[in-house]
Symmetry: C2
Subunit: 169 residues, 2 copies
């Protein structure tokens, strides 16, 4: 089997996409300015009435990234207040998340593919995974779900973005 | 560094999410039956006028998965006709893709983290990656983009799905 490290399969992916998300928010600001509407309009966008609005999508993407890095490293997950009320504050949340992701030393993830990971749930038993399953079946798909939904909400609002903005240059 | 194999970081992730997608299409069929509309209605859904409709989202998710496995294994990418015209045919496309993903032997991916991967583009120079960057910065995020967009289109159409259907049980 060819080895890549658990760190190489996680941190660079989160960090790059979080950087892409910052670029989408810049494009959203420029679009609002050009069309003369307040960036606050973005904050209530939802894809369906029973899906979460834009700020929650960004907060959960952040939670997925910081939760994954902390849990794989056996650290406690940094707690953020989820009180971002503007597009600029959401960008700051993304930056803070990226800084945390990049702060976790690669060495801290040694052995993490076999580490037991427990995710509490609002109802029902907690989810349990080994580190490899947690990364490939929970943390990464969940992170990309909320990143993609953020992108979709901005596209829906007319922000001129394309697939290469999603993937990053 | 803790090693996980390139195969362990790719094939199980694609195979599981493709299986989840089959469950979403089953739920979409049941929803159409309950509400007495044709499943063909789903085939023209788009999140924005200049985003691709549901069949294309599924076809590109399929392309991302089969392309990744084939390229990392140094095989030619299986070519599918992109002629699916019903929800059942799209489900068959997903099954065929999953079968292919699971058919690539893990041993074929040994060394693939350093393999040079070239992705032709409709315009401009081809994209070039080593295998590790291709997997974490292109193939997986692109696959999850189209899986999530498929999910979002079905949610938009009222199909009763939740995050656990996205992630799979």
């Amino acid at each position: 089997m060819t080895p890549i490290s658990m760190h190489a399969a996680s941190a660079p992916a989160f960090a790059k996409m979080l950087g892409n998300m910052l670029n989408w928010l810049e494009a959203a600001k420029a679009h609002a300015e050009a069309k003369k509407f307040s960036t606050d309009v973005y904050l209530t966008l939802r894809l369906a009435p029973d899906m979460l609005p834009l700020p929650k999508q960004i907060q959960i993407a952040s939670d997925a990234a910081k939760g994954c890095m902390a849990r794989l490293a056996g650290q406690s997950v940094p707690s953020y207040e989820d009180n971002e009320a503007t597009l600029d504050e959401l960008a700051e949340r993304i930056r803070k998340t990226r800084d945390f992701v990049l702060s976790v030393p690669a060495e801290a993830l040694v052995g993490s593919e076999g580490r037991e990971i427990t995710i509490p749930r609002r109802s029902g038993d907690p989810l349990k995974f080994d580190g490899a399953d947690y990364l490939r079946h929970f943390a990464l798909p969940n992170f990309y779900f909320h990143a993609t939904t953020t992108y979709a909400l901005l596209r829906h609002a007319g922000v001129p973005l394309g697939k290469l903005d999603y993937l990053g240059g």
